[in-house]
């Protein structure tokens, strides 16, 4: 068994919802997934991208058995997912992005102890498990605070902690950093990266951020209109950077992997973060004052997302 997730021909449509007046129906069924094929290797980290309504959340919810598919097969760790069986409950952690999905009047620790107790094993075990995952997401210092008194970022981390209860082997995350500021986003990403490296987790997460996909995933899968539009390997350590220069200072010199724009005011560099640091030192030594250093989206992924449907 080398695949954590295997999905073949997965289709799902939703019946048309009621109109504003419930007895006035209501249009056509909405096809959310139209034959998705996907394979995720063990311990792989995969980003799921695509426009709104592409079927990303639907796919996640089918994998954690909250939704039933209309057609297609799903296997988790080599076992077909027939229904909401023990397999899902044992192996899959689901992290939704809704911070309201916690009990706000309970403490962080009580929330986790409750959800942990649903696996059985008694209160003492539930508390130990709660403490363990609170440590993992660095919330141990806030364990006794009520959820309503935590910041949005802390609540998101608490949702992540809940997904880690019972040490799942597959973690499904639906926009885990939605509504977080850049600092909190980077902090949560660091924790996720650390956990995937140390806990041998397989990660499938929905995101709208190409940069986040680049930072967290080894592969990006793009869904569009319920189908896999394509996928891109992000294993490459080399990133693309754009940098400008102060016109009053020296011009860009000739350097490896550095492409200077026609007007000479900006350049694009392809390399690892360490190579960028080396280049900056090199440019500084050559009298170039650099400005506006920015990482560019992965070119293939960017092209895939921008390509017409």
């Amino acid at each position: 068994m080398s695949a954590a997730v295997e999905v073949a021909g997965l289709a799902k449509s939703f019946p048309p919802g009621p109109g504003v007046l419930p007895w006035r129906r209501r249009g056509q069924p909405v096809a959310a997934l139209r034959g998705v094929d996907l394979r995720i290797r063990l311990a792989e980290s995969v980003a799921l991208l695509g426009p709104n309504g592409a079927g990303k959340t639907t796919l996640l919810k089918i994998l954690c058995s909250v939704l039933l598919p209309d057609a297609g097969q799903v296997s988790l760790f080599g076992t077909p997912l027939v229904d909401r069986d023990g397999l899902v409950r044992r192996l899959v952690g689901y992290v939704n992005s809704d911070e309201r999905s916690l009990y706000w009047r309970l403490s962080a620790r009580e929330n986790l102890a409750f959800f942990s107790a649903l696996s059985g094993g008694g209160r003492a075990r539930a508390l130990r498990e709660a403490d363990r995952v609170l440590e993992l997401v660095e919330l141990a210092a806030h364990a006794e605070r009520r959820v309503m008194n935590l910041s949005t970022g802390m609540r998101q981390r608490l949702c992540l902690a809940r997904g880690l209860l019972g040490s799942p082997r597959l973690l499904l995350l639906d926009e885990p950093t939605r509504s977080l500021d850049p600092t909190a986003t980077r902090s949560l990403e660091r924790e996720l990266r650390r956990m995937t490296e140390t806990l041998d987790l397989t990660l499938l997460f929905v995101t709208h951020s190409l940069e986040q996909a680049r930072r967290l995933a080894t592969r990006a899968v793009v869904l569009r209109q319920g189908r896999v539009a394509g996928e891109v390997s992000l294993d490459d350590e080399r990133h693309t950077w754009r940098l400008g220069r102060d016109p009053a200072a020296a011009p860009f010199p000739v350097a490896d992997h550095l492409t200077v724009a026609a007007d000479g005011q900006s350049a694009v560099f392809s390399g690892t973060p360490a190579e960028v640091a080396g280049l900056l030192a090199e440019l500084h030594a050559a009298g170039v004052t650099t400005t506006d250093l920015a990482e560019l989206p992965h070119p293939a992924l960017d092209a895939l997302l921008r390509s017409p449907a």
Binding site: F14, P15, K61, C64, S65, V66, L67, L68, D70, R84, G86, V88, R89, R90, V92, Y94, N96, D98, R100, S101, L102, Y103, R105, L106, E110, A113, F114, F115, A117, L118, S119, G120, R123, A126, R146, R162, G166
Partner: protein, 261 residues
């Protein structure tokens, strides 16, 4: 189940005066019926052999348990739907139907001591005619009544999953049962065709059994038909409730209704 009880107790207790207000409401109910019974004292009431106060106190206890069992499943389910925890509960290791049943355990645990206080007062103010033969019957009525109420509660919860709104149904059934289920008004005093309605309400034979057993106003053998009716209703409604609820869960998983509200 302890985890659910603990969760809901902590949430309930986190609201200032929540527990105190429940106690005040109970005292208010007792006072109301004490005064009403005082007004009716000395007047014969058809269908009430024990005096109105103990009769209505048992009716109130039964109606409280009935309405709570009926509404608890639906209201807890709806709360979890609103908050977004329903999907998380669904992915947990606890079977979903059990999670829904356990979610309402606190509401029943909170109401049961209140009902026992009312029943204790009814026994204290009643005619003390109960005999040993009433005790097993009382246990049987209690168990079957809970099974019957749970069946109805599951039907209400299924309505919440199917239509996102179960409360109109719960209010209708609960209100009708309270009004026509002989909780406060004996069937004999209802006017014209309305006098037949109590026979259709599941609460009626349950209350007849509870009153007969606790107050001893009906011989044990005469309570057996009421017990048979409650048993039959429970035997039908509990499996029907479970089946309809499980089907509504499947429907919600197909339609995406678990997180819709």
């Amino acid at each position: 189940m302890l985890a659910f009880l603990r969760r809901d107790f902590l949430i309930d207790a986190s609201y200032p005066w929540s527990l105190a207000s429940q106690a005040v409401t109970l005292v208010g109910k007792i006072l109301l019926w004490f005064l009403a019974a005082g007004i009716l004292a000395g007047r014969p009431i058809p269908g009430v052999a024990s005096g109105y106060l103990p009769w209505v106190l048992i009716g109130t206890a039964g109606a409280m348990l009935f309405s709570t069992a009926l509404s608890a499943f639906a209201s807890r389910l709806r709360q979890e739907q609103f908050s977004g925890t329903l999907e998380i509960l669904f992915t947990s290791n606890t079977p979903f139907v059990r999670a829904v049943l356990y979610s309402s355990a606190y509401d029943l645990a909170r109401v049961t001591p209140q009902a026992l206080i009312l029943i204790g007062l009814a026994w204290w103010t009643g005619p003390h005619r109960a005999v040993a033969g009433h005790l097993p019957l009382l246990a049987a009525f209690t168990v079957l009544a809970f099974a019957l109420f749970a069946g109805l509660g599951l039907l209400a919860a299924a309505a919440v999953l199917a239509w996102q709104r179960g409360d109109p149904l719960v209010t209708l059934v609960s209100g009708a049962a309270t009004l026509f289920g002989t909780a406060y008004i004996p069937a004999e005093v209802l006017p014209g065709p309305l006098a037949h309605l109590p026979q259709l309400v599941p609460l009626t034979p349950t209350l007849a059994g509870l009153r007969g057993c606790i107050l001893g106003t009906t011989a044990p053998a005469e309570l057996l038909p009421a017990l048979a009716i409650v048993g039959l209703e429970a035997a039908v409604l509990l499996p029907v409730g479970l089946t309809v609820f499980n089907r509504s869960v499947e429907h919600a998983r197909r339609s995406g209704g678990l997180s819709r509200y």
